[in-house]
Amino acid sequence: MIDRYAKQRIFLGREPEARLRDRRVAVVGLGATGSVLASWLARAGVGHLTLIDRDLVELSNLQRQLLYGEGDLGRPKAEAARERLAEANSSIELVAQVADLTSGNARELLAGFDLIMDGTDNFEARFLINDVAILTGTPWIYTGAIGGEGMVWPLNPPRTPCLRCLIEEPPASGDVDTCDSAGVLGPAVGIAASWGALEAIKILTGREPHPELARFDFWHNERQFIQPPATRCRFCTDKVTEFLDARWTLKASSLCGLEGVQIRVNPPRQLDLAALKPRLEARTGRDWKDSGLALTGTEGELRFTLFKDGRALVHGPVTPERAKGWYTEVVGA
C-alpha cells in the first residue's frame, strides 16, 4: 500500500513504524531547533505532539526558524507552529501551548508523554525538563546549538545519567555563549535538531538511542562523541528535584539578541487584559491593543507586551530592575 508513511515503513518495518501513531511527544521550545524537531516528528506521524513555547515570532527568527514566515510576525510561535505542522500532517493530534515553562507548571505541562524534546534555548528550562524526567522516568533529548556548533544527548534517568550527572548547576548567564554573543547559523541548528529527531524516532520505535553525547563543530569540520559519566549523581539517584521545587514569583532578565527585558511570573497567572487596557491607556495617554492573547502598547520609548499568563516583554533601553519596577507598579507583584 502506497500511503503517507510507505517509505519510512520500508526502512523501519511495519510494526515499529506503526508504534509512532500511538506515541505522545512534547516539544518544549519552538525556535530554531524546535521547528526542525517538530517538523520531522509530525511528518513521521507521531500520533500526538504538544508544542510549548512562550514567545512571539520576530523578524530576527526567520533566518533559522523554519516553521515561520513573514505572515506569522507577532503571532505566538506555538500557534503558528501548530498551523504549519497541520498543513504537513493533518492526521495527527497537535496541541499548542502558549506557555512559559516554570517550576509552577512544568509537572502539569510535561505529564503523560513518551518523550520530551528539548527545543529550548536556555538552561533553566533544561534543568526543569531534567527534573520532570527524574521524577517520571520520561526519556528526553537535549539538543543545543550555537554559532556553527551543535550537541545532542539522549537521556533517560535512572537508566542513563541525567543532565546533573554532567553539570550539577545551570551555568550563570555570561558563562556560556548565547545566540547574542556567538551568533548562530541556521544549517548548524538544522543538522543538530535533525540528529535529535532521528534519535527520537529510535526511542519512539523501541530502539536504543545513541548512548553518547554527540558534539559537532560543523564550521570547523570537527565532531566528538563523549561517553557520559559512569556514575550517577545524588539528584537522579535520590530523585531530588530542586528546580521543580524552587519557589520564585517574579524574574526579570535581558532578552537574548534584542534590546529589552523579559519578565516571568511563577506560577503563571491569568491576567485580565481587558481590565488592564483602560488603566494602561490612562497611564500612558496612548492606545493599547488587546489581541486576546496579549496586550501591547508603549510608554515613553519602551514597547510593552503583556501576556495573558502574566509574562511581559519590554522592548527598548531598559534594565531588568526598571522593567520589574514598572511591572510591579502596573500589574502587581
Binding site: 530554531a32 539538543t143 546549538a145 551543535g150 551555568p171 558563562d175 548562530v184 566528538q224 559519566p229
Partner: protein, 74 residues
C-alpha cells in the same frame, strides 16, 4: 608527565587548539583547566581519553584531555 590538551569552541580564543603540555606527576584535571584560565563554571564537558571525567581526577602520563563549553542555544 606529558598531557595532550585539546580546547574547543571559544576556549581556543587567545589559547590554542591542541598542545602537548608538561605537568608534574599527581596533577588533577582542575589544575590543568585552572592553569589555562578556564573557570569551572565555564566548562560544560571534560573528556579524558574519550570519556567524561570529574575535575578531581588525577592525570597520568600520555593522557588526552579535552575541554568543551556547553551549547545552550536553540
Amino acid at each position: 608527565m606529558l598531557i595532550t590538551v585539546k580546547l574547543f569552541a571559544n576556549f581556543r580564543v587567545g589559547r590554542f587548539v591542541v598542545e602537548v603540555r608538561d605537568y608534574p606527576a599527581g596533577t588533577a584535571i582542575k589544575a590543568v583547566s585552572g592553569s589555562l584560565g578556564l573557570a569551572s563554571q565555564e566548562i560544560g564537558m571534560t573528556m579524558l581519553n574519550g570519556r567524561h571525567a570529574e575535575p578531581e581526577r588525577v592525570l597520568k602520563d600520555g593522557d588526552v584531555l579535552a575541554f568543551f563549553p556547553l551549547l545552550g542555544g536553540g
